[in-house]
Amino acid sequence: MRTWYFSEMAYHPAWEKGLARGSLRVNFPNEIVDPREAGALLNRYLDEFALCDEAGLDIMVNEHHSTATCMTVSVPMALAVIARETRTARLLTLGNPIANRPDPVRVAEEMAWLDCLSGGRLEMGLVKGAPYEIAPANSNPGRLMRRYWEAHDLILKALSTHDGPFSWEGEFFQYRNVNIWPRPIQQPTPPVWMTGMSVETGKLAAEKGHVVGTLLSGGLAKPMYDAYRKRARELGWEAGPDRMAYAAIVGVGTTRQEGLRRADSIADYVRTAPVVAEPFTNPPGYNSIAANVAMLKAGPRAHRLVTDRDGQPIDHRTATVQQFMDTDTVFAGTPDDVFAQLQAFNTRMGGVGHLLFFGQGGYLSHQDARANITLFGKEVAPRLRELGAPAEAAA
């Protein structure tokens, strides 16, 4: 299992106000941001990313818009800084929200540029994006995945075509001269990742051979990984752990108490991030018809919950660290504790090759974040690297 450190670069000084208003996204006015404080935090978070090289960790960056929970507005911009401050870490975008990007060729250019800049260290996530990203981008939620796949195909073609220009006259995108400069070092394209939470996404990712990642819910991850492995087998290949990724909060400390305290602090991110005004949570078309039928049947007052390993519902907004540990949202304790938890998780999931290490949520101090990264890199990551597919999954 490889470890990829990531942080959403939150603007947590605004969280209390956002929680009081019932929305931290889209309709939460930016008058609440102190731009100088935002700048200081961005520099601090980038310093935390830069530590990963020394700690032997790889790096993941994502982006959100119009929110106090994530100040990264552009994956390539953040990675451009990080690429210059690191030498060996692989750099993962997870990802580029390509269904919301008006210009996929621009995405291909940025990815190629980053691959050149970093000496071929780029891993390229192409994602659908969260439902509340539709409003800031004003992208049409209707036929969203059709637009996603057209952008996906165009980006891969732009990265891997070297005798251009070529033309593209699609349903959503039209170009007459695609010929990106520079082209990426890694050929035909940097490794491609997707994210998802459904069996359907697992199948589709297997058909492309992409890495598939999911976040914060083991209960949702397992069926998706199983669907991926099954579809790969149908297509004549074995999908190993290196095709599966999982994002979780990790708090590690020299004592169990210290690890739990760090995880609890980072988990405030998960308690805060889902708080968004109702109309932005489910734009029509974003979720499947079946999911919408279930929501209409449940009625307006039902909250969407995840379940723990015993099938008990957990509300992310109020959950304790222990409850989060029961849903595989959090792994925490001493290095031995965390390794044992991840080893058991790897077995339950049938082999997960990538841990997306959510190691900074906002409230965690710089000192704690540094210690969390350094200790994880020294004591946990080397042991995880030895962890392959569990015996029963390989059988």
Binding site: G142, P279, P284, G285, K297
Partner: protein
């Protein structure tokens, strides 16, 4: 359940009721809802022909179809397939936008155009919202703006069968496909409204909070000879909220055609 007819390769579900002058009724973004009393009222004096828009009800939304232009041509083909003559073309809310797009293209089969709180044109400046952003407000706020008496419009979705819920979810996505961006309007439509060469009448609920009466006045100013009438105690859907008054206004209009 209405009957099914395939027009230009699109399988449409159509509600048909009543005798008399044909009335092609194009429904709002909220759907056709043929079980409300409005359809019976209108059918007392007209042969009502009310298709479910592609993606709504039992109508298919083929991959190739996705704009209001497509809907305008589709319904012109439907009017031809049904051999409508001297018909009334009526549209409410989103359906009013579609009706106007039809009328600027070809009015040969129609004697009059009735628009009830139509969406579809841009009137104000770049930062003015002519049309309330129905997708950026909670459902309860939408109901308060769309109905004079929101209780009359409440639907308990938890009691509906799953097939109907699936149709509602499909319809909500279809409305986004057609009208997400630019939001529920065609920036160029206003410039072509002068082409409407049949009598046009606008109906507006006095308590419409989705598109205000001033927006109706802008429509009236652009369509040659158009008239505008308000309906008391009605919001954005006068045909649902005040079916009797809506029917009276419609009948008065069609009798002078």
């Amino acid at each position: 359940m209405g009957r099914h007819i395939t027009v230009s390769g699109v399988a449409l579900e159509i509600e048909e009721k009543g005798q008399g002058r044909p009335l092609l009724f194009l429904h709002p973004g909220e759907g056709l809802q043929p079980d409300r009393p409005w359809l019976d009222r209108l059918a007392r004096h007209h042969r009502v022909i009310a298709p479910h828009h592609p993606g709504f009800g039992g109508s298919a939304l083929p991959d190739w179809l996705g704009t209001v232009d497509d809907l305008a041509y589709l319904y012109l083909d439907l009017a031809a397939a049904l051999k409508l003559e001297n018909a009334v073309l009526a549209g409410a809310c989103f359906g009013g936008w579609v009706a106007a797009e039809i009328a600027v293209r070809n009015t040969r089969r129609f004697a009059g155009l009735l628009l009830s709180a139509p969406l579809g044109i841009k009137v104000g400046g770049v930062t003015d919202r002519d049309i309330t952003d129905m997708h950026a407000i909670p459902r309860a706020d939408f109901m308060r703006l769309a109905w004079a008496d929101p209780a009359k419009g409440e639907i308990d979705y938890t009691q509906l069968p799953e097939t109907e819920l699936a149709a509602i979810a499909r319809g909500r996505e279809a409305l986004c496909v057609f009208g997400w961006k630019p939001y529920m309007h065609n920036p160029r439509l206003k410039r072509w409204l002068h082409r409407i060469d049949i009598p046009a009448h606008l109906l507006w609920g006095e308590q419409d909070g989705i598109v205000r009466l001033a927006y109706g006045e802008a429509w009236k100013a652009e369509i040659p000879g158009a008239t505008l009438e308000t309906i008391p105690a009605a919001g954005h859907y006068p045909h649902w909220e005040q079916p009797e008054a809506f029917d009276r206004a419609l009948l008065a209009f069609t009798q002078r055609l």
